[in-house]
Symmetry: C2
Subunit: 247 residues, 2 copies
C-alpha cells in the first residue's frame, strides 16, 4: 500500500471570500479530503463549511495542531497518511507554513517519504509585495519585530540599512499594535525611504499605499489609512542611487 | 472623472491550468478588462484566450512592456488609467512584480494616486516555500545567483552562512542550468544543510523534495528528480542548534 499525499491547503484571508480567492483545484481538494491538520479546529470547520465540503463537517477528522505544533506529536499525525490516507494542513488564514505553523510537519513528511503538494491561495505577504511597487526581484520577510521601543527602533534602522542594496523588507505586526509600528517607522526611518502599508488584503476595505517617509509625515491625519486592528503587512525599501533610478 | 484601478493579474505557471490555479475573482477581472500591460504580448493573448475572455482577443489593447520596462514609457502607459480605464499588469507566468517586471509601473501608479489591487494566483516562490518544510517564519528570495563558478560557490556559501540564524534562502535559475546549480549546491554546502528542489510546480510532473546535502549526495542518480530544463525553485536552510531542534 502506498502512502497518501500531504496537501498544503490555503484558506481565505477575509470572511466570505472562499469562492473568490481560492482556485477550483484548491476547492476540489478541500472537498475531497476528510483528514485535516488544522492550526485551529473551529476556524477549519468554518472554512470547510464555506468551501461547501459535501460531508457533514462533524464527521471529518480535524486534528488541531495549534499555533506551535508539538514536535513529539508529528509522527502520530502523519501515521494515517503513511497508511494511505490523503490529508491537508490548514492555517487559520492564508498559506500553511508561511508565517503560520506547518513547516515542521512538512519537513517530517519529506523525511518519511510522503509526497507533499502545495495548493494555490492567498498570501498576504505575496499580495502586499505585488501591490507595493517595491522591489520584487529580491525581498525578505522577517516575521515580527521587537516590541520594546529601543529594540524596535534599532531593528527598523537595521532593516533600512540592509535594504540599501535594493532588497525589500516585509514584516507583520499584531493588528492592535499597527499604529505604534507605523509611528515608529516614521520616527526612525530616513525621509526618502519608501514605506508600503497593505491593509485588509482581499477584504472589501483593501487598501495598499506606498509613499516616502517624508510624504507619509506630511499627509493630513484624515488621509492616512486606518490601521488599528486592521491586518496589515508593512514593507520598506531604502532609497539608494540604484533604487532612485529604477523608481 | 476618477482614475481607473491598476490590477496585478497573475497567470498560470503551466499550460492548460488557468481554471485550476486562478480563483474566480481573478478570472472575472481578467475577462472584464480590455487594457493589459503585458510582459509578453503573445503569451498574454494566449492566457486571455485560455481564460475565456468574452471579447475577440485581437480587439483587446495589449501593450507589451517587455522584460525590462522602459522607465520613460511608464507615464504614457498609465495615461488611460488616469483617464478612468481599469487595466492589469500581466507576466508571462506567475505574479507580476515578483521575480517579474511590473514593480516600477506600480510604484509610479502609487505616485500618481492610482488605486492598485493585487489578485490571487500562483507564485512558484511561495508554493516552493510552503512545500519545502523549511522555515516560513523568516525567508528571503535572492533572485538569480552568479553564473561564474567561483562567484557561484562563494555566493552559495554566503547564503548558507546567512541562513544559520534560521532564515530560508530561495532563488531561481535559468532552467537549462539547473543541473549545474544543483551540483554546485552539493559541492559547496555543508553535509547537514537542508536543500529543497521544487520542480514543475502546478504542472502534472510537480515534484518537491527536501533532503540534507549528505542525503542528496548518497541518493542513486536514478532517484534524483530530473531538473534539466524543468522550472525549479531552489531553497536552502542551514542546520543550526535552533533548526535541528525544530525539524
Amino acid at each position: 500500500m502506498s502512502a497518501g499525499t500531504l496537501y498544503l491547503l490555503p484558506t481565505p484571508l477575509a470572511d466570505g471570500t472562499a469562492a473568490a480567492v481560492l482556485p477550483e483545484e484548491t476547492l476540489v481538494v478541500a472537498r475531497r479530503l476528510d483528514l485535516f491538520l488544522a492550526e485551529d479546529a473551529k476556524s477549519a470547520r468554518a472554512f470547510l463549511k464555506a468551501a461547501q465540503h459535501p460531508e457533514p463537517i462533524r464527521q471529518l477528522r480535524i486534528v488541531e495542531i495549534g499555533h506551535q505544533p508539538d514536535a513529539a506529536a508529528i509522527d502520530g499525525w502523519l501515521e494515517p497518511i503513511i497508511e494511505g490516507c490523503d490529508a491537508a494542513i490548514v492555517s487559520e488564514a492564508g498559506c500553511p507554513g508561511v508565517a503560520d505553523p506547518g513547516a515542521q510537519i512538512v519537513a517530517r513528511a519529506h523525511a518519511r517519504g510522503i509526497a507533499v503538494r502545495p495548493l494555490v491561495g492567498p498570501s498576504a505577504i505575496l499580495l502586499a509585495l505585488m501591490a507595493s511597487g517595491l522591489n520584487g526581484q529580491t525581498f525578505r520577510f522577517v516575521g515580527y519585530l521587537p516590541q520594546e521601543s529601543a529594540a524596535l527602533a534599532a531593528r527598523l534602522r537595521e532593516l533600512e540599512r540592509e535594504s540599501r542594496g535594493g532588497e525589500t523588507q516585509l514584516w507583520i505586526e499584531t493588528p492592535y499594535r499597527n499604529d505604534r509600528m507605523f509611528e515608529a517607522l516614521l520616527a526612525h526611518c530616513a525621509p526618502e525611504t519608501w514605506v508600503c502599508l497593505a491593509i485588509d488584503l482581499t477584504a472589501s476595505g483593501e487598501t495598499v499605499m506606498t509613499r516616502r517617509v517624508a510624504e507619509w509625515q506630511s499627509l493630513p491625519p484624515a488621509r492616512r489609512p486606518a490601521l488599528h486592528k486592521h491586518p496589515t503587512v508593512f514593507a520598506l525599501l531604502a532609497a539608494s542611487v540604484r533604487n532612485r533610478s529604477s523608481q
